[in-house]
């Protein structure tokens, strides 16, 4: 009886089960795919040039007409109301002010109209000048106002837009994880 069982065992084929090995291989593959190889980024630093500065702003060639909008931060804007013949003027804070040439407003629609008029005036001149947009924004101005003006430029068909900016002051600032700005009240001044 015992010899019969032993004979059955020796007759069985020794097959290798590959499925678990493939499973484990896949898991190891996924694990290494997910690992961030930060050392590779570190090596690239060696190729970086060290004397970087802001690009000089090129003077616009004479055949370009600039449509410039200056976005300023919160301002006190005088508002006048008429009351039975008399007029009351009260200073009201506005969240943003747009400056176009020598005109100021907090109404974006008006800015859009001014941009469109400027483009029409440039086209009416009959010259070959290209019309370019220009945005000067105060450093604490929220990004949404810049995009809003960009939207108005796009609406007027102005695709080329220049942005005015300041140089990054000093190499230390470039290594800070977060630039030193107050998280709140950044709207109190615009420039």
């Amino acid at each position: 009886m015992g010899s019969k069982a032993a004979k059955e065992l020796t007759n069985q084929k020794a097959a290798l089960e590959l499925t678990p090995m493939i499973d484990v291989s896949f898991l190891i593959l996924i694990f290494f795919m997910c690992l961030p190889f930060k050392t590779l980024e570190g090596k690239l630093l060696a190729f970086l040039p060290t004397d970087k500065g802001i690009n000089p702003i090129p003077q616009p060639p004479p055949n370009e007409i600039m449509v410039s909008v200056h976005i300023m931060g919160r301002r006190e804007q005088p508002r006048a109301w008429g009351l039975e013949g008399s007029q009351i003027t009260v200073s009201m804070p506005t969240e943003v002010m747009y400056k176009f040439a020598d005109r100021e407003t907090d109404d974006l629609k008006r800015v859009g109209q001014w941009i469109a008029d400027a483009k029409k005036a440039a086209a009416a001149g009959g010259g070959t000048a290209t019309v370019k947009g220009e945005i000067k924004a105060g450093h604490k101005t929220p990004h949404k106002f810049v995009v809003a003006v960009l939207n108005k430029f796009s609406e007027a068909g102005l695709e080329k837009v220049d942005f005015y900016g300041t140089a990054i002051p000093g190499p230390q600032l470039r290594q800070l994880p977060l630039l030193p700005y107050p998280a709140k009240n950044y709207l109190t001044t615009g420039d």
């Binding site: 997910c34 690239l44 974006l108 924004a137 949404k144 809003a148 600032l173």
Partner: protein
Amino acid sequence: MSKLSEISQDSGELDMTPMIDIVFNLLIFFLVVSDLNQKDLAELTLPIAYMALEDKGDDPDDRVILNVDNRGRILFRGQPKNLDELGTILDQAVRVYNIKTKGEGFVEVAPGAKASKLFVLLRADKDTPWQHVQYLMTIMAERKLYKCQFACSKYIGKGYKGEEGIKEARMIGGITQDEYKAQGGQ
């Protein structure tokens, strides 16, 4: 005859183990891949611009996606970066793009001056102080990266909820999808 009876006695059970293994592997793979894709786009409230074009997504090698949150923190693939690190990332992206385009990754913008054709998608929160975005653009300009895209929401929606949100969105020219269609937009 005896062989036939042996076969008929075998139970027709299906071995589920390899199938379950493969299903789990696929599940993990897609979980990881989808997570990595999401990391490119940080959770931000984007500014509104109804003239914005629909973004169909580009090849990751053809565009660098940079995120700036409302505190001015730069996020690249979910990781905060300083301006120096960002410069390194952009250098590498320009190099990869140039290799991919077989040296055709630059365009002559002026006599003797070349700029990269690589796009940079700037995803800044609506409340990010402009200085942070502008510094990012300075880093880009240093690497001759002039092709810049600003990520925007097309209509009033996410992040502009409630009366205050709608009021704020209106102030910067935000419109609803219905209003856009009423103006003849598609």
